[in-house]
């Protein structure tokens, strides 16, 4: 039986993106890292209420940057789910309150008001500037954010300098001249420990026939005890 080892890598990218601020229950996030192309799948009000969609499935979370709740005339209103919200508190918006549609160059999330949903709804402030939100990516979902490679396609491990080690793989396109590249930044002069860890993970019979999260930079989880001190992971798929 042929058993390969499947190596999982993910980028340690910045995961947050700020929204525009309006006073019409709309939270718009423009395309741009880490959401180079905002999710394509719409979430209807009915789907959100039924616990479906990528927000419920943990792809991302939406937070209000600072609740405005100082008893002035333009406060936010919150459904019972949120309890008593202090002024300036960061509030995680329940996915039950969010419908979504991809726009042109952005993604539009519409919040249910408290009048529409007394439990999960949030009514925005009448002052647009009070309605700042942040969308946080919780899982990689686009090219160059995550990559799984068969260990048998590993061609070379190379020290770029004292703190960077490059893993070169046969490209996923299998094109001549192209390569899949994974670069680790790590503790100085630990290149050999990166190479040894890769060799260990591939040759250990217990790992054969599995997907091993060798360097999950997204979640800052690294294989074994991370003796090399890897702290940055950069992916370049089908690079020249």
């Amino acid at each position: 039986m042929i058993n390969d080892v499947y190596l999982y890598f993910s980028d340690d990218m910045t995961v947050t993106k700020a929204s525009t601020t309006t006073a019409d229950q709309l939270v718009t996030v423009a395309d741009g890292a880490p959401f180079a192309n905002m999710p394509t799948t719409a979430i209807t009000v009915a789907q959100a209420a039924a616990g479906k969609g990528w927000l419920h499935n943990g792809l991302a979370k939406l937070t209000m940057n600072a609740a405005h709740n100082d008893a002035s005339g333009d406060v936010h209103l919150f459904g019972t789910h949120y309890g008593t919200v202090a002024d300036d508190a960061v509030v995680l918006v329940s996915p039950y309150a969010i419908s979504y549609a991809e726009g042109s160059g952005d993604g539009d999330m519409t919040l249910r008001t408290v009048a529409q949903d007394p439990v999960y709804g949030i009514t925005q402030s009448s002052t647009a500037g009070e309605n700042g939100f942040t969308l946080t990516l919780l899982k990689p979902y686009e090219p160059d954010q995550a990559l799984v490679k068969a260990a048998s396609t590993l061609a070379n491990i190379e020290a770029l300098d004292a703190t960077r080690t490059l893993l070169t793989f046969t490209p996923s396109t299998h094109d001549t001249g192209a390569l899949d590249l994974v670069t680790f930044t790590h503790t100085s002069n630990k290149n050999h420990l990166v190479a040894k860890a890769i060799a260990d993970v591939i040759t250990d019979p217990r790992n054969q026939g599995k997907m091993i999260k060798f360097a999950d930079g997204f979640n800052e989880v690294y294989f074994g005890n991370n003796a090399a001190g890897i702290h940055t992971v950069t992916l370049a798929i089908d690079a020249a």
Partner: protein, 102 residues
């Protein structure tokens, strides 16, 4: 024994490839990832199979696909997805087989 992975779309497009020809997978968006294989004509080129999954379940789908490929059925035949087979149960989080590009 050599292992084979089998894919079939709802539009009767199907392929079986040796698991040893697998190159890698990356996510494409919130509902699809692309599995790459060595080109069947043995040229330096690739073939792609898009796999569709439940929106937002990227890493779970990657886990599911690779667990299936790593399995060891006695006959070496691994059905990764078959959208034409009545009663076939998709791999966890996988919803269908997308485009097969040979």
């Amino acid at each position: 024994m050599i292992k084979f992975a089998y894919f079939e779309t709802a539009s009767n497009d199907a392929t079986m490839v040796p698991v040893a020809n697998y190159l890698g997978t990356e996510p494409t968006n919130d509902v699809t990832c692309t599995m790459h294989w060595k080109k069947m004509d043995n040229t330096l080129d690739g073939m792609n199979i898009v796999m569709n999954f439940t929106t937002g379940m990227t890493t779970e789908a990657l886990d599911s696909l690779h667990s299936a490929m790593a399995s060891n059925p006695k006959d070496g035949f691994i059905v990764m997805g078959d959208d034409n087979l009545t009663g076939f149960t998709n791999l966890e989080h996988i919803t269908s087989v997308g485009a097969i590009t040979l």
